[in-house]
Symmetry: C2
């Protein structure tokens, strides 16, 4: 077994931190209690451990390849995707109306983490399909929904997001792809899209491209972008597949990692025009695309957690097996397994603490999403929406940045063997590097955090969350243990640093934008650190209480306390320095003359 | 041009920080003044920019390969290495007695950085040869010196270090390779060595393997290891090449990076025994090997600086060209080159500050090496030796760890293009990852720092260096500029944190080794940060004084002040948090039960 799903920790996060019991009281989620969660997670673990994970190395060694406009995926991927679809996993969090399971994100997040731990490249196909489903659910016409959603939710068809063009990456104002209205109400699409994940492949009968393009006469910039559905094969009125559409894959990229996942260059309209239908209204494409992107950003954050967990497991396994050097405390006369060495423990604890902290944050944010979308009380929906929206750039940005550090440590634990591709640790290091880039780089997430999520409301949401953290601090203060006291001290310092930075950002974003944005990514890292650390603090409280009451799994709870303590001592403790760099170091970021670089 | 050697900064480091004028007063280095330095650096820049750097990408795409026991290097490598040897570059820092140039390390370090910036894989062959030369110079017999050194120094033959075996990586006590004494005074060597850099290749007529092995009856562990010279081809009395020795390359590794550099598995003695001669005395092999390793560790630190500089230059070039998004300060109505965006500047400044700080530290340490080995005054030699030895694990550990962050940022600046191998940024990210592993992982460097360099003298050397830092703080305090004041504040806090950790390490290494070694790598990172930051502080002082006096290159000096200020605000400012993690967080590193991982 190369991967074991951390079901116990996932259930703990759902039940003790995300309030699954409350989620299960929301209309529509009545069946989503802990028993359901456990059953779903165990099934998901089975599929991912046994079917998807074993394909991961093979996908790296025999990546997908392009030939004559077709893309052939790694042997085994097609069959595994069929099993994935038939098992209902693509529809996990989608409405039952279209064949989905209708489960809350609180539960789905854990299953998605497993899929990504098992195989980051494979997981990207469902990830993009999820985004396309969300966009069609929100903005698609009844006909579009009926035509596409059941097949996408069943895994028979897949979806893509077509944003990027050679000159338009983060900056969608530069999109040039054209859409020409036709007399029958359809549009003809012309243009080149790059970096299209699973833009072409052999795992599904049809591929539903969602494409950003400009209709002639539309306003300049992002206000003139519309969204279109452009299927690879046109769909007949009876739902059967019709003619091949004029959307062709002309090449795929040779990449650092996630090699099994084809990254396509798509040409639309080179042979007369690709036929598309408008989603929603003209010139509102960006808004709809953000629906997909927000779903995808959260999911990419989960990817970071997934690959971090896998790298951690691999490193632990190696550290238990590799015999090298005597223990520094003389506890053993001869050479010992390297897991006995303090620095190896430090690396493994760092990997573990980051992963658990980010997992807790993601699942708690997933519960906020569920309440924001489904709770009967409008005020509850609003509060949860604000909470979720604040967390999305953190789940995306912080969980993926930490995955770079974690996968790098994973290689490091392996020593020289880590640098040999055969060992497999290096793959996670290569694969993870895309996570801080796609669906918006960390800087783009940080712009979102600074602009929309902090400055726009003057820091109100951020400070409301800080007040919740103070409640946790108060609970910690009531406990007597050294672990709780250490956590309380670090959490307080980190929360105060966070609030000071929120004030700095709120004060400067308009008046001195260079200063505010010079600290944008450090602010994101600080905020992510505080929020993940806060969840670890909450976990510590629950674990200590359960241990005192003699409830739960003793070994698991003790490990949770220790991991939380490590998080406090080694990760949360960095927060004040980040505040200093942001608040006192803004000028030196932008002071160098441009020609002096 | 894909690389431009930073000659100006290198000369600044030599002249203003490392005291090249003083070095040139040491007997034997009289010709090594600033004019010589400049002339040598300019020649070195030419070769590396024009000949070596252009082979870097090709080496990654068409790596060396193994066929029937032979290794074929990338097209162009052999010719470039011939030019390198003929230009006298292999002999740069080696004695004129054997055909070397006899230049101080103060100057050689800069040339070696250039070579590594140009091509990390290529540079490894001279790097290992340098180590083998050092070992033979120190411990070889006159006959061994006469036989091997002139050819190695001329670049006709190359050298290797054969330490690692499958079961013996960091832990040389586990070495099993055997050496059997023969009646003629030679030894027959039997065993398997792995991870042998340039263990086989086609760039030189002969390869001089230095091999660790055990003579029958030798003591257990590291005290029973001897060092042998085992040439690929035996050498006749007249210096001509004789029979092929029984040392054969059975395979090379498929690696994450430095792919052009062949990493060999060598079999010694499968066909009757490889003939070797003993270097120095039996059972003192480890001691001699440490000579090679210390030279090599310093050089690997330089590799970190080299690859960081190259990654920085590439990122700057891309950031100037890539047009994307409006400036946040509204200074331009349309999309701008991304170098205008504050977060891109933050990334570039981080890359730049790390690289300049580590370069300064390496060159200053090089000057200490020169004085330690050649100064006429024994007391001066002793002080410099202590300084140099303290710095070696920092130059190695900190410069290579920072190179991981810098090359990762290099990819990040490129956005999606960074993940495409064609762009070239990803190669630096892959290549750099070995640097924190070979010649002793960062943890091994940290053990050296904790054990031999700190605990052994109770922190005396460390604190003597801290006193020197206080002198710099006092000089900063006399200046009025905001930059000097900010630097003074951060340097003081960082130096105090350093001293507190030194006390913690000195107090705990014996009595509570788990606590001391739990903080070993964080201590190394803190110490490296403080020492590199100290050099940036010294650079700031010199630059401000020269600016006030109207001397020197105005733009260069202003950039130096800004970069030093950035170092203070964003990197040095992390030091107190590292102290907290070490001093207050030791227990949580080792608290988790082994079976809970």
């Amino acid at each position: 077994m190369t991967y074991r799903a951390p079901v116990k920790d996932m259930l703990f996060c759902m039940q003790e931190l995300a309030g699954l019991e409350q989620v299960a009281k929301i209309p529509g989620f009545e069946d989503a209690g802990i028993e359901t969660a456990q059953a779903v997670l165990e099934e998901s673990a089975k599929l991912n451990e046994e079917v998807v994970a074993p394909l991961n190395v093979e996908g790296d060694r025999q990546p997908s390849y392009w030939k004559d406009g077709k893309v052939f995926t790694t042997a085994g991927f097609k069959e595994a995707f069929k099993q994935f679809g038939e098992g209902g996993w693509q529809g996990l969090q989608h409405p039952t109306d279209f064949g989905g399971q209708g489960l809350p994100k609180t539960i789905a997040a854990a299953c998605i983490e497993m899929l990504n731990s098992a195989n980051l490249s494979f997981a990207l196909c469902p990830l993009l399909t999820d985004g396309a489903i969300e966009a069609l659910l929100t903005a698609g016409s009844d006909e579009q929904k009926a035509t596409y959603l059941p097949k996408m939710i069943s895994g028979e068809w897949t979806g893509t997001m077509n944003l990027t063009e050679p000159q338009a990456g983060s900056d969608l104002a530069l999109v040039r792809t054209r859409a020409e209205p036709q007399p029958d109400g359809t549009y003809k699409i012309f243009g080149t899209k790059i970096f299209i994940t699973y833009g072409e492949h052999d795992m599904a009968d049809n591929i539903v491209h969602l494409v950003l393009a400009r209709v002639a006469g539309a306003p300049e910039g992002v206000k003139g972008i519309s969204l279109f559905v452009v299927p690879k094969f046109l769909v007949n009125a009876d739902g059967s597949l019709g003619a091949r559409n004029d959307a062709h894959c002309v090449s795929i990229e040779h990449k650092l990692g996630i090699k099994a996942s084809p990254t396509a260059v798509l040409q639309f309209g080179d042979h007369g025009g690709a036929i598309g239908t408008l989603v929603g209204q003209e010139n509102r494409g960006l808004e709809y695309m953000f629906i997909m992107m927000n779903a995808a950003r959260y999911a990419v954050g989960i990817q970071g957690i997934g690959v971090a967990e896998r790298a951690y497991q691999k490193a632990v396994e190696y550290a238990r097996e590799r015999i090298q050097s005597r223990p520094v405390d003389g506890s053993q006369p001869g050479s010992a397994a390297i897991i006995h060495h303090p620095d190896v423990k430090r690396m493994l604890m760092t990997m573990r603490a980051y992963t658990e902290g980010c997992r807790a944050l993601a699942i708690v944010s997933g519960a906020a999403y569920d309440a924001a979308h489904n709770h009967p009380d409008a005020e509850v929906r609003k509060q949860n929406q604000a909470f979720y929206e604040f967390m999305v750039p953190l789940v995306k940005g912080y969980s993926t940045e930490m995955s770079l550090e974690v996968t790098s440590l994973g290689v490091q634990v392996h020593g020289g063997m880590g640098f040999i591709e055969e060992t497999g640790a290096a793959q996670y290091y290569r694969d993870a590097k895309i996570l801080t880039i796609y669906e918006g780089t960390t800087a783009i997430q940080a712009n979102d955090l600074v602009g929309r999520k902090t400055a726009r409301d003057g820091g109100t949401t951020a400070k409301a969350i800080a007040k919740q953290i103070e409640v946790t601090e108060a609970a910690l203060a009531k406990r007597e243990s050294a672990d709780a006291r250490a956590m309380a001290k670090r959490l307080k310092a980190a929360r105060e640093a966070f609030v000071q930075v929120v004030d700095f950002i709120a004060a400067n974003t308009k008046s001195n934008p260079n200063a505010a944005f010079a600290g944008s990514v450090p602010y994101l890292m600080l905020a992510g650190n505080v929020m993940a650390g806060w969840q670890m603090a909450r976990a510590l409280l629950v674990a200590e209480e359960q241990l005192a009451d003699g409830k739960g799994d003793n070994a698991f709870l003790k490990a949770k306390v220790t991991t939380a303590r490590f998080y406090a001592d080694h990760l949360l403790s960095k927060a004040p320095a980040t505040r200093d760099a942001i608040v006192e170091g803004a000028d030196s970021v932008t002071a160098l003359a441009l020609d002096a670089f």
